[in-house]
Subunit: 254 residues, 4 copies
């Protein structure tokens, strides 16, 4: 039974982690850490220091804030506890510095994206790229999203370009008719990327490959923060046998 | 039994018309017209004049060339024969002029697109538009296509804009990150249109509507010129009871 | 400004109605009705009688329980208030009996499904059916759903069968190989219906039409109860000009 | 420059192979073999024996008939020529027997499916299976197809079942309502498989994986026999460096 401490258990992501860990057969919520948390049916602490002093857990899962995550990790690794971190805002240098001070072979695992399906979508796109002369990415996000294309779409396009090592033969912006500039999308490393925005989507992405007489489409839909949870559980199950800094959920997938 | 004369029966579209008419229960190929045609199991003529003189048919279906279609129609309507025309290149003025000289209440039916599914897609897009704050069009065509977006996509976007009578609230090109201009597509009357090009497609279009917590998608795929045939047969069946100029397959659909 | 009373405002659907009405420009939450509700920034009452006595509203929206909805409607219509009802469990006879006692031309509007996109999907399926020899329905719902196919899928199949008035020519269960019974789905009035179950879906349905060389697909995705809200607002806006019993959101759509 | 002999060059698949080889930069059609072939711009022979005697090629591509393929392979391998075979009907035992008599390290490559995208779809399905509690397969084929489900769908379901090693938790046939037997599809090794039939499809398959709040979909569309050609070219390029019997295009893909 893996004993899990949930930092930020009172927040939206933290409480989803509590639910997912509780529902899993092979792990248990050992305690929660949150300065704003209320009492619940597992022990709770106001700070990482209090939790470490009380002990009784193997792994800390941190979905807190950029302002506190580095401190949490520092204390936890210093006490030999493995860390599974989804809080963004830490540079690779900071992560390396933190991991260097880990005691007892503790592992620091950070992933920018814990959605298993999104990680597989990118791996499959990379694997398919050499076999298709053309590839395009379409991403669909909620109308509130402030930038286009999404970071995942840009990374996917870059991975495709790197993996195939040839230029697409598909026609480009020179075929756009007057007044319809943008129809062929944004070119990211030679891969057209299209962004759709609508209240009707949460986060969806399609990668479309074509060759003579056939198309191969890889599509991922996510409509809830629970989509992070299978990846978080995979991280919790994997860190015990690893040590040092590990970045990216794909490390634990095939 | 409707008796059909097929102009251009030796060409690719013409021979598909011959097959479709032959397979239908309520009509028959009365004759073929083509200066380059070989003998076959129905009477054939070198010109529309020869065919009209021989008689024995009710409707002419014309998928020929822009250079001869006007002459064909002129002679056929002058002999009181209904015309079903898919050859492009005739202006509305030309069509009106031709129809004005029709004898015996003959009907001139012209459609820029005979694909029933594409026509329904546009009608449904028009009907749905008022109920959704956001709409986008994605069209997918073969890499050989020389212009983007497709004419059907542009018409669909215009129909959506007219039908809804409000501005979309979705974010636009101002959200495109640097170096990724075009991600939000081409704005056609305020409706984003995205064009995908790949050897793997023939002709596909999706219209995506979104509102709170839901999306409605209308998609049409066509992979063969036979997709025109149900519309051609519908035209052949419908012109007998009509007269004068009729433009657009939607006239005969619901 | 339409003044709306929200019955069951403390429940999940009721609070979503409060949010949607508040966000709309042309209506306002006049009061809430809920025996279990807490105080909030609009007047609240424990019962429909208290609310009616206090007055100050034009329409009651009811997403409560089968056990109380009939009583709520009875009192509201008796006071001349229009009703927009999404609570299920009332027979057509009961609805007719309630509507018969309405005062002051009040309208009783009931809809089994308030999702605008789902209603349009069914209308479009009905309109397309006569033009395609084949149609199939695929519905995708959460793994917790206890019955297959969904009620919406069954209704859609029935509407297609009624609208087309011919038998599909697609091969049926006789083509299923040994040990693979069920591959061709359930036949509902001659229309194959397929049910997919997965944690990864909320509620999605596709209707797929095929004819020579083309397919037309109408797809609706819903991932949140907010997808009901555009339909609820449409109901609120429409009942003022109507009276008596009205069933089905399609009455107010085109 | 790889010199290719095309057996059955006058048939439909054979002539598509001729076109694809001709269009490729790194290979050339050295000769054609077909008892019914007409003269063309490359040397042609009536039999494999004549071709072998004339020589001047490295690889034979065989898309002929079950009745002649074994003889063709036997003669070609006996002359030390590599073989790329897509003709079906040969058992593994027969293939092994033929390969055993190959001279000069010739390679016998047989694939039941040369469509690169379909092969990748199956590989990706296998890779994704362990990460998702639920998986279903939907295949869409032309209404003329005589069996359901397709062989590719059955193989995909088996690969998923083997790769994940657990039982799906999705509800099964016990949730089908009365009169709707088959809604949950055919269970192939515990994986639901659904077959859609319509004139509007050639060959399409979707594999749908779900877990909390997300779905991953892998879809392959094929609408033309040219979809085999990238796989055939890959086979031609790969056999030169291999010897003995190789079955399955996946051997040469990643």
């Amino acid at each position: 039974m893996i004993r899990v401490a949930v930092a930020g258990y009172a927040g939206r992501m933290g409480s989803a982690v509590v639910d997912a860990v509780t529902a899993a057969d092979d792990m248990v919520v050992a305690c929660g850490i949150d300065p704003h948390g209320e009492a619940t049916d597992f022990p709770t602490y106001r700070s990482i220091e209090e939790a470490v002093e009380a002990g009784g857990f193997d792994v800390v899962v941190d979905f807190t804030q950029p302002s506190v995550v580095a401190h949490n990790i520092d204390v936890a690794l210093g006490a030999g506890k493995d860390c599974v971190v989804g809080t963004t805002g830490l540079s690779t240098e900071t992560l390396e510095g933190l991991a260097a001070k880990a005691k007892d072979d503790a592992c620091l695992f950070y992933a920018p994206n814990f959605t298993t399906g999104a990680v597989l979508m990118m791996q499959f796109a990379k694997a398919a790229a050499p076999y298709f002369p053309e590839a395009e990415v379409i991403e669909f996000h909620h109308a509130r999203k402030k930038d286009a294309p999404s970071g995942t779409a840009v990374r996917t396009a870059q991975m495709i370009a790197d993996a195939r090592g040839f230029e697409s033969s598909a026609p480009g912006k020179e075929t756009e008719i007057e007044g319809a500039e943008g129809a062929r999308g944004a070119l990211v490393n030679g891969v057209p990327v299209h962004s759709v925005r609508s209240m009707g989507f949460v986060a969806t992405q399609e990668v479309i490959f074509g060759s003579m007489g056939q198309t191969l489409t890889i599509k991922h839909d996510s409509w809830d923060r629970t989509s992070y949870m299978p990846g978080v559980l995979l991280g919790i199950r994997s860190v015990g046998e690893r040590s040092g800094l590990i970045i990216g959920l794909e490390t634990f997938m095939g």
